[in-house]
Symmetry: C2
Subunit: 150 residues, 2 copies
């Protein structure tokens, strides 16, 4: 028996899959505000020659531009992989309200691993964090991507 995923995570996973087909590490992100999607993205580091073009960063930049405000305090971010330190820092700076992520990232994650960024006393804004929604599909997609490149 299986249950459908929440719509924003379903969309983020579909964006991740499309990224993989374009040769990018499959991570997708969606930002929701007042029940509406305000930004979507996927990893684009290779396509854009931009080491900062993680899905979360692009989604945050797009949402802030769309709303015309650098603070996204009424926005929730859905992403298929645990954010790294760069992205966790950006989530905090943008004042994202809730973070939903699918797969854990023991090697590069900074939320439940490594620097545990949101738990630092110098972290000025912590989102509510919900992990594991869509984890199986997100992790399988990443494994398949890296296996095909080995």
């Amino acid at each position: 028996m299986s249950f459908p995923l929440p719509e924003p995570m379903r969309l983020a996973l579909d964006l991740a899959r499309a990224a993989a087909e374009a040769g990018e590490v499959p991570v997708g992100a969606v930002i929701v505000r007042e029940g509406k999607v305000v930004a979507t993205s996927a990893n684009a580091m290779r396509g854009e020659y931009d080491p900062t073009a993680h899905a979360e960063m692009l989604a945050i930049r797009r949402a802030a531009a769309a709303i015309g405000n650098e603070r996204l305090g009424d926005c929730d971010l859905w992403v298929t992989l645990e954010p790294c330190a760069m992205c966790a820092g950006a989530i905090s700076l943008a004042r994202i309200r809730r973070l939903y992520y699918a797969a854990p990232d023991p090697k590069g994650g900074a939320v439940a691993h490594g620097p545990l960024f949101f738990a630092q006393p110098t972290c000025h804004h912590r989102p509510e964090v919900y992990a594991g929604i869509g984890e199986g599909e997100a992790a399988a997609m990443l494994r398949a991507f890296f296996a095909a490149r080995r």
Copy 2:
């Protein structure tokens, strides 16, 4: 008796000063490759409605775009303030060779404070770090900026 600052830090401080005049928190950054400046930037969070538009992020994105490579392994970054977690993460992802920063940031810094990002076992690339060059001028500029806004 005083000595002139290294040219990239002099330039970064001048960029920070110009940012303050435009209402941005005064932080400037410069990326040098093979003795040549390949990117310059200053904070632009307010002007661009972009919470990720820290000087370091813009400099890294501009350098990667200019060089046509998401890896900046032969580049050095000069910045007037200790990088935050977001920027430290980006420095690592971009494989920056050396990081020179002026003023420490006990509240938001992630290099010598808070998450000590480059010291984490999950940090995959650590630049050489040189702190304090131009510290007095950078710190005075930040203090004056915030004092005028209180």
